[in-house]
Amino acid sequence: MASIWQYANPRKFIQTTDRVLPWIAGAALVALIVGLVWGFFFTPEDYRQGSTVKIIYLHVPSALMAINGWIMMLAASLIWIVRRHHVSALAARAAAPVGATMTVIALVTGAIWGQPMWGTWWAWDPRLTSFLILFLFYLGYMALWAAIENDDTAADLTSVLCLVGSVFAVLSRYAVNFWNQGLHQGASLSLDKEENVADVFYFPLLLCIAGFVLLFIALVFLRTQTEIRARRMRALLVRERLG
């Protein structure tokens, strides 16, 4: 039974993640420390932006993970809808607060960066606004999970919300672009080499992104384990009440 779905068994999932978690967490720590130290102290200052540019090492990775977190939740929700693996639903639930935190980090670092650059902490720029809306989606998603007692019902409802929310998030992105053209610079990273930030900034940035990805995975694994145990406990309590 070499199928990937064997990891959807709660027991198997906990055993496996217990084994790999220290490695992922350790790798995340190393990548983040090296990336941040390299980025903050061993890169030249930008000729226009000065030292403020260095917040990019927190801003870009967290913004990336804010979006990827939602995409991961969407994938997990789809797996729950199609295959009804409880662990998948719980992983989506576990990822939400992590993703929301990433969104907050992206918003806060963006504000700190925006102040010296644009002279304002906040502007209703399309990218900023989109992230604010993304944060609202995270809030609603978590609130819905928290409001429903029955875990299976909650999993079903939040999955559909995640699905519908994703469509509306994309719609909002376009609507906001139409609504205001914005101050934010273009993408810091892209496959097109010409568009990229310069190499000296690029490699520590990649390292920081790797660190954030690993950190995200480690946190989601850890929180999924917690959710699995909490769910198991609730199931036992219900059983006891039923006699």
Binding site: I133, L136, F137, L139, G140, A143, L144, A147, I148, T153, D156, L157, V160, L161, L163, V164, G165, F168, A169, L171, S172, Y174, A175, V176, F178, W179
Partner: protein
């Protein structure tokens, strides 16, 4: 299905049905705005399209939890679910009834309220048109939110939290269309986008609403 619609409309106009509450709320919002931003007509006429759109949206939001809550409490939702009416049709009818009892009165009353905020002459037709295109989407999206939260006691606040981000595109295009209209600018793009969102939402979202309602009923 017609029976369901007539019953809902009949319930809405009888005692305790809440018909007109949204309208009264809209009037209060419009009355309060000048108190908070000052009485200058120039300022008011500039923000009038946005305020009127926001007022309509909030009035709509206020009445969303009534869409399913009453039928849920007295058990008729269970009985309707076992009836020959498909769940998708049920939620669509509910949304239509909500629009007829909330959205339509708002549209009819808007020109009067626009007078209070001294909307420029050119803005009336675009405003009414934008509401006409946009409020059905508000009702359909709201029905989805109401279906999500139907089993939750005191779910009103949660319903607002879930629905508001979903309202963003509709509000942007609707208000933008009304604003451009009032300024005499080209509003065709906004109008097309608004119509596209409304039709897309009306065509697709009832399936999601029906799915979550089924989950909530089991």
């Amino acid at each position: 299905m017609i029976a369901l619609l007539t019953r809902d409309l009949r319930l809405a106009v009888r005692a305790g049905g809440g018909f007109g509450l949204g309208l009264a709320f809209f009037l209060i919002v419009v009355t309060l705005v000048p108190f908070s931003v000052g009485p200058e007509n120039a300022l008011l006429s500039e923000i009038a399209p946005g305020i009127l759109w926001l007022g309509a949206l909030l009035a709509c939001l206020l009445s969303l939890d009534r869409i399913f809550a009453l039928d849920w409490e007295d058990g008729s939702l269970d009985l309707l679910a076992t009836s020959p009416v498909p769940m998708e049709a049920l939620v669509s009818i509910k949304a239509l009834a909500h629009w007829l009892t909330t959205g339509l009165p708002l549209i009819v009353a808007t020109p009067v309220f626009a007078l209070l905020l001294s909307l420029p002459q050119a803005g009336y037709v675009p405003l009414v048109l934008s509401l006409f295109l946009g409020t059905p989407a508000l009702s359909v999206i709201g029905t989805f939110g109401a279906a999500l939260t139907v089993g939750i006691k005191r779910g009103g606040l949660l319903l607002s939290l879930l629905v508001l981000p979903l309202y963003v595109p509709t509000l942007i295009f609707g208000a933008e269309m009304a604003r451009r209209g009032a300024l005499g600018l080209d509003m065709k793009t906004a109008m097309m986008m608004q119509a596209g969102i409304s039709f897309g939402v009306i065509a697709l979202l009832p399936f999601a609403s029906a799915a979550v309602l089924r989950v909530n009923l089991r």
